[in-house]
């Protein structure tokens, strides 16, 4: 064969490939959403991952729900009241609500849901622990139930809007079994399940009889795409309408595209560098303050996160209950930091080791920037990446960290209680070094207070105290960033990515 012949063959191959070219146009009435992980089960009590919520909130309803503004609103319960010295919460239920399989929603379904969650089936999953303050549910009449509490839980109403509180159909589960339910979910939500291919996709279709009105869309297709770059490529190619994973670096690309819109809103995720109060130079509170003041957090937000984050003073977002707008972080002040360090008698060249999640490319840059700032302070900084599960399951809980470590947290309840308790109460996994009687007392006290104002006051006290003790370098509250095709109309993106597509339509 002559080389020219080979070229000809290659040209021929290209010519054959040409007719394959099609502009991938999306069908009207079908919304396609890219999510990062397949939870494996669509049963509300089996998982905690965010992508479950992006799907589950369309299939199920809870007694309460949260709008895109994260404010609590009625769901399958229309009203509630505290009885019996706060030991009992009575819910009036919505009437004429049906599950997708035709089963009626009533008090029996609520009782079944919580018996299941709090019983043996719930024991196998991660959701039960969020609801342990409930002792049991009592049926008063067909549309009234009482939650009898084991201990006070002021966050319960919020938790009832959480994954584990989603109401499931008793007859369906009893007849088909839990395993079948995992992959063939049925709820009362605006969309019903059609098809699921593990690790590939899940399809829902409109449930016109939904109590909140019929959805405008015909179908929602969720595609499971783990790689952020791939999600964005699919979005750019017009084959995905909403990309949930957008690397900060690609945000400008989406902003520039005429067909796409970048959504960047306050999210639940907060990031800090927690400090070791037991060993190393960070034992001294003034040294910890010096470290905070040495790091220009605004610069990091601007340069590394391209502005898709906000500075924080405590370990919570401004959507969180307990957030105090009056609390300000220590300012960036290198001179003052140097002075503090000198007064504390820290010799130049003292070491600071920062532990972080190795696969987290964004934080790697944040850590490098922080290291740079601390070097300017005259410290010797080393960066130690770990595989995420190793850092979270071994290094932090067992107190094997360096002077500082990455703490990243998505407070799904948007209530500082849960976060603060797990972070600062003694004996908690995320708090390997501190045991502060004052903090313990405050954290315990607010757990029994239903009075909103009073509880908020205590939570703000906790935040102020933690800041005063400089237990961590508060870095930033990361935005929830997603890419959306402009053909998607009426989408109000929720901070927690728990979409509810009832009013959404596509051109």
């Amino acid at each position: 064969m002559k080389f020219s012949k080979f070229l000809m063959a290659a040209g021929l191959a290209a010519a054959v490939a040409m007719p394959l070219a099609t502009q991938s146009a999306q069908a009207a009435g079908i919304l396609t959403v890219a999510i990062s992980i397949d939870p494996g089960s669509w049963d509300p009590i089996d998982t905690f991952v965010v992508p479950w919520g992006s799907v589950g909130s369309n299939i199920y309803d809870g007694l309460t729900s949260r709008g895109p503004d994260m404010k609590l609103q009625p769901g399958l319960a229309t009203s509630w009241e505290l009885l019996d010295n706060n030991n009992r919460i009575r819910f009036k239920l919505r009437q004429n609500v049906k599950f997708h399989n035709g089963e009626p929603f009533n008090a029996g379904a609520v009782k079944f849901t919580f018996d299941r969650l709090l019983g043996d089936e719930g024991k196998k999953g991660p959701q039960q622990s969020n609801y342990n303050s409930i002792d049991h549910v009592e049926i008063v009449d067909d549309y009234t139930v009482d939650f009898v509490m084991k201990q006070p839980d002021p966050v319960l109403l919020t938790k009832l809007a959480g994954y584990g509180g989603m109401i499931v159909p008793p007859k369906y589960i009893q007849e088909k079994g839990d395993e079948y339910f995992n992959t063939h979910p049925v709820g009362t939500g605006p969309f019903k399940f059609v098809e699921y291919t593990p690790k590939v996709s899940l399809t829902l279709e409109a449930f016109p009889e939904h109590w909140g009105g019929a959805p405008k869309l015909d179908k929602v297709v969720y595609r499971i795409i783990a790689e952020a770059n791939t999600q964005v490529a699919e979005l750019q190619a017009g084959r995905v309408d909403i990309a949930n994973l957008v690397p900060f670096g690609l945000a400008p690309t989406i902003e520039k595209s005429p067909d796409l819109k970048l959504v960047s809103i306050t999210g639940p995720t907060v990031v800090s560098l927690r400090l070791n109060t037991k060993n190393g130079i960070t034992k001294d509170v003034n040294v910890r303050k010096a470290l905070i003041m040495a790091i220009d957090r605004d610069a990091i937000i601007k340069a590394v996160l391209l502005g898709h984050a906000k500075p924080i003073a405590s370990f919570q977002s401004d959507l969180s209950f307990g957030y105090d707008p009056a609390l300000k972080p220590l300012p960036f002040d290198l001179a003052k930091a140097k002075q503090l360090l000198q007064q504390a008698g820290v010799p130049a060249g003292s070491t600071v080791k920062i532990d972080f999640r190795g696969p987290d490319a964004t934080f790697r840059e944040v850590a490098q920037a922080s290291a740079g700032f601390l070097q300017a302070l005259g410290l010797k900084v080393s960066l130690q990446p770990y595989e995420t599960p190793v850092l979270l399951n071994d290094i932090i809980p067992n107190g094997k960290t360096g002077e500082a470590w990455q703490n990243a947290w998505g407070g799904w309840t948007f209530d500082y209680d849960n976060t603060a308790y797990l972070m600062y109460h003694s004996g908690e996994k995320w708090n390997p070094y501190d045991n502060d009687a004052k903090l313990n007392a405050l954290l315990e006290k607010q757990r029994s207070i239903y009075d909103v104002k009073e509880r908020e006051k205590i939570l703000r006290e906790v935040a102020a105290y933690v800041a005063e003790q400089a237990l961590e370098i508060p870095l930033y509250n990361e935005n929830t960033v997603m890419g959306v095709n402009k053909r998607v109309k009426n989408l109000v993106p929720p901070a927690d990515r728990r979409f509810r597509f009832t009013d959404v339509s596509v051109d």
Partner: protein, 306 residues
Amino acid sequence: MAGFILKRLLQAVFVVLAVTLIVSFAVRLSGDPAIMLTGAGSVTEQDLKNIRQALGLERPFIVQYLSFLQGIVVGDFGRSFMGGTSVSKLIGQALPATLLLAFASLLTSIAVSIPLGVYAAVKRGGAPDQLIRILSLVGLSFPNFWLAIMMVLFFSITLGWLPPSGMEGPKSFIMPALTMAIILTATNVRLVRTSMLETLSQQYIMVARSKGLKDWVVLYKHALRNSAIPLVTYVGVQFGNLIGSIVIVERVFNWPGMGTLAFDAISARDYPVLQGSITVLALFIVLINLVVDIAYGLIDPRIRTE
């Protein structure tokens, strides 16, 4: 011959056993699946214990391992920790996807490397030969994920011809298969060239030429057949390597194959899925090597008596 095959089979069984033991043991060294399942939630030690109990992780390692082995024998790899889907079902879905992609890559590579390699051998030392050698060096040095991303940018986003990811019809094979094929071709071209050069210097080629046979008949009928032997055996080995290196390409193209399955399982510490997929991959590679060994033995009696 029967003895030889039996010996090789026994070795294969031993290798697979060793792989399963190492994988099952190593995966348990880091990370607790119960913690992975609960995220960073407000779980107590008792909650974690309950979950571990439900997953069967409270049993001693040796019991867990033996029940895993027992499962393999009957083709049951257990259930995924995430949602309880049967691992065999997940593998049944992922393995064909990976094999199809591997075959497509291999075929593409062979289809390109043979003509290029032969041409380079014929024009030995000339400009085309140099060019092909340089190109193949460039192909070898490309990081394949970069190549994949460039192709996506060009073919999917700029031109809108090909789907950027997923496995949906023949079109979706083009980019992932090409990405893999370019890396393979870089090696294969060199192999064909070397092998061809050696064959071309043989006397029977001179005889063929002196008979007045046409150039292409000599090259493709006489020379190529004889120089194909090393290529064929190498391709067998390559197929095994291919399966191993397919992970990154699968991830970039969101290919629902074994690589994606195993990668996700590692991240989630989903022991049954990880053990199952690694075992199946190991079985596969062992099987290919076995076939190559046996084929060798059939072709060359000297190997049988070794």
